[in-house]
Symmetry: C2
Subunit: 512 residues, 2 copies
Amino acid sequence: MPVSLTRNSARLVARLSVRPASAARTLATHAAIPLTTKSAFFKDEPKAPSLSTAVPGPRSKAISAEIDSFASNLAHTFVVDFEKSDGNYIVDADGNKMLDVFSQIASIAIGYNNPSLLALAKTDEFARATMNRPALGSYPPTTWTDWIESSLGQVRPKGVNDIFTAMCGSCSNENAFKAAFMAYRARERGDPSVTFTAEELSSCMKNQAPGSPQMSILSFGQGFHGRLFGSLSATRSKAIHKVDIPSFPWPSVPWPAVNYPLEENASANRKAEQDTLAQVEDVIDSHKRNGNPVAAVIVEPIASEGGDMHASPEFFRGLREVTKRMGVFFIVDEVQTGVGATGTFWAHEKWNLEIPPDFVVFSKKMQAAGFYHNVDTRPTIAYRNYNTWMGHPTELLKAREIIRFINEHSLVSKTATVGDKLYSALASLAAPGSPGHNKIQNLRGKGEGTFIAWDAPTVEARDRLIGKMRNEWGINMGGCGDRAVRLRPMLIFEESHADVLLYALERALAEL
Amino acid sequence: MPVSLTRNSARLVARLSVRPASAARTLATHAAIPLTTKSAFFKDEPKAPSLSTAVPGPRSKAISAEIDSFASNLAHTFVVDFEKSDGNYIVDADGNKMLDVFSQIASIAIGYNNPSLLALAKTDEFARATMNRPALGSYPPTTWTDWIESSLGQVRPKGVNDIFTAMCGSCSNENAFKAAFMAYRARERGDPSVTFTAEELSSCMKNQAPGSPQMSILSFGQGFHGRLFGSLSATRSKAIHKVDIPSFPWPSVPWPAVNYPLEENASANRKAEQDTLAQVEDVIDSHKRNGNPVAAVIVEPIASEGGDMHASPEFFRGLREVTKRMGVFFIVDEVQTGVGATGTFWAHEKWNLEIPPDFVVFSKKMQAAGFYHNVDTRPTIAYRNYNTWMGHPTELLKAREIIRFINEHSLVSKTATVGDKLYSALASLAAPGSPGHNKIQNLRGKGEGTFIAWDAPTVEARDRLIGKMRNEWGINMGGCGDRAVRLRPMLIFEESHADVLLYALERALAEL
């Protein structure tokens, strides 16, 4: 069942003719994929997916059952042989080799067993950094400025200078919340030399106002910002993430009710986005009047866990304008969107903000976690935003090498190019008469690198597609939201990998 | 001013005669310490503290000022040359070599640049584990059971089986809170097949009851359990940790008003502890009646950040009895007390509990973080207590080597022995006629290994002592609570190190 892939289809056909089928591996339930992948960075990377068992196979299941003797295995997808995994390919306990476009929930930037990272691991510098873990806030290493400036400092978002390191995305968001609350209260006090009243100091020890103030973080519907108690109160992805857990009475505003593709619905979307901005303004205003002021608004450039929800740059510029005008801090959560996958290093670069965000939060593919901000949100008294470790030299050195590798090989612009082609091919696959018609709905991520998603007709259809892709074609994909499929390949995902993905997807969709 | 150190003083004198003064280094402001340290594990460890500048010295200050260009340096003590640090000695940016009895806020177990850890760092296993960081909840490595059982599994506290790995002490406590809340609600629902009502699922998305229930965690005065939003609501250490940050209206009960030494005040202390237990029972009872039930009680075996507050094993057995009887989970926070420093691997071993804790939380010296629990607090639905990383293979392999090294060299029992001698010498130093009289108050930690603390007369006196010990004697100590000095040496701290500490302390106290 041929499908019109426009320009992409010509390339696909060309590939078909130049790549001999003999190079491909035999899959369990299908004829070989008559295409091969080729990595510029991983010379031993498999040439194609290869399945010898169902996924999870018997060995995955046996190991998963072992793990269940001490920890829940309910969320296991399959068990991974990380030693054999290479580049874009993840190898499971049964030896199945899968093209991985989920990448440990979007957390692997430059491939499994990247030789540059493995070489870093063997250096004395890395060994000492890892094995002498400091309490960074009190006993920083002599090398700290160099380590920071050669890593996170190389990719400072425009307009932010300070760097706060932490442990993971959730705690990075929470430390940003704390910094926002402290700065908001400091601004309310006015004179910087004014500190806390005796009543504040005594009441906070009882978890009571005024020391523990009623204040809030405003987030958006479908937003995901983590699963600790503060971050979970801002998270609006799924009920299963939140039910039974006490939360702060923090407000949210629905994600703008935009239609996709964004550019074809620009006018209606603009109205939806303006409505959302008006609601944001209303909530900030009413909460301030009700004694539970919003100290910060947090938003993801693409609400990822919640279903890859997009909005226009104009919307985000408007959000920055509203927050600035109303004296509320603006937190951009780039935990999932950061580090190049959207075709720019930071997704929010595409917004062309005149006023930078107050906080830009990172984790996942950066391996190091934390946030960028400015000195106006730096506490002026010691030990206020503080903990034992305050980050992790191990992860910082990994971030340094990941950033160096990305820059050396121009992986951000390459990801933009591969993503554009992938998006075009998917759009063709979704067109009337193509196998994806009605099965690829609300395709989104145009101009956002490989950070692409679409909706299946139902959650069951989505899960069937992901199962089929994994089990029959050897492609590991992830879902998000209610019925979305999200693509999260690494930055070393090249056109040949996209071709294999598209070949399998076209046939899997046709069979559904 | 000679001091009667009882048996210890005889040993001190013996050391004086066998160790030539020429082996010691010259200190900036004092004659050499006429004692030397000797490590069984670190052949190149310095023989004595050695200062060539004030601490922090000019290079520390210059580097700290550099760091201030991107992050707060307000809590910096000094800048560390981790490459030169060795065993019990920390070397700063100016080359000052200090005996470290604070150990990165009690987080270094087996010495700076421990050769066994450095050797681990250079293995292929470690390199791959570090550079292929998995989403452990969904894609565990084939080696996971082996890694867990050869590390954390070797030191399971009695009566708990499951192991939940996380990132740091704060988030480990918060994940234990979440598990407790979920299990508490599941028990309220009764039939395990009963899940959530539609109202619960919709209300939680609005941060409202019944889906986001009013429930609480009960903690103790002076308790410290972390600084994220849930853990901070349970923390009662210092106002500066809490002020301006919204918190949950969770209750606390004052730490038992015991007097030290515990054994000399047993009768009055018993009454104080019984009072506290009665208050715990009251709070659990009243909160249940008021619709904000206590799901769990959290307690540290020794409330460390809050000032090293102790209580008797009977108190903790009583607490376990009350929580069990009232259907409340019991969380033992061993983040600071765990991993051997109290003379048993877990401090709570000394309680001889008949019913084990529901949760035992660890981090710091373990490097890996998380908690032990049992299957009754394991969620029965996937993705409920879940996050991207769910721990860290890097830290797990470090924990494996730390535990192996501790066991191989019997470091827990050695720490008990060294701690007993150190405590006795400090008690002598605090006795009437000795230089520490009235300056070492409320000495505590007898039978708790090297986990020893005392109160200075005032916060100023405490800070002067710590400053003097660092600046004049080259000994890096930490404070806690309002006016306490806490000793947190590593598990490789031997008698010769204790002798140097005591020698300097005796003279520093005499001069104050």
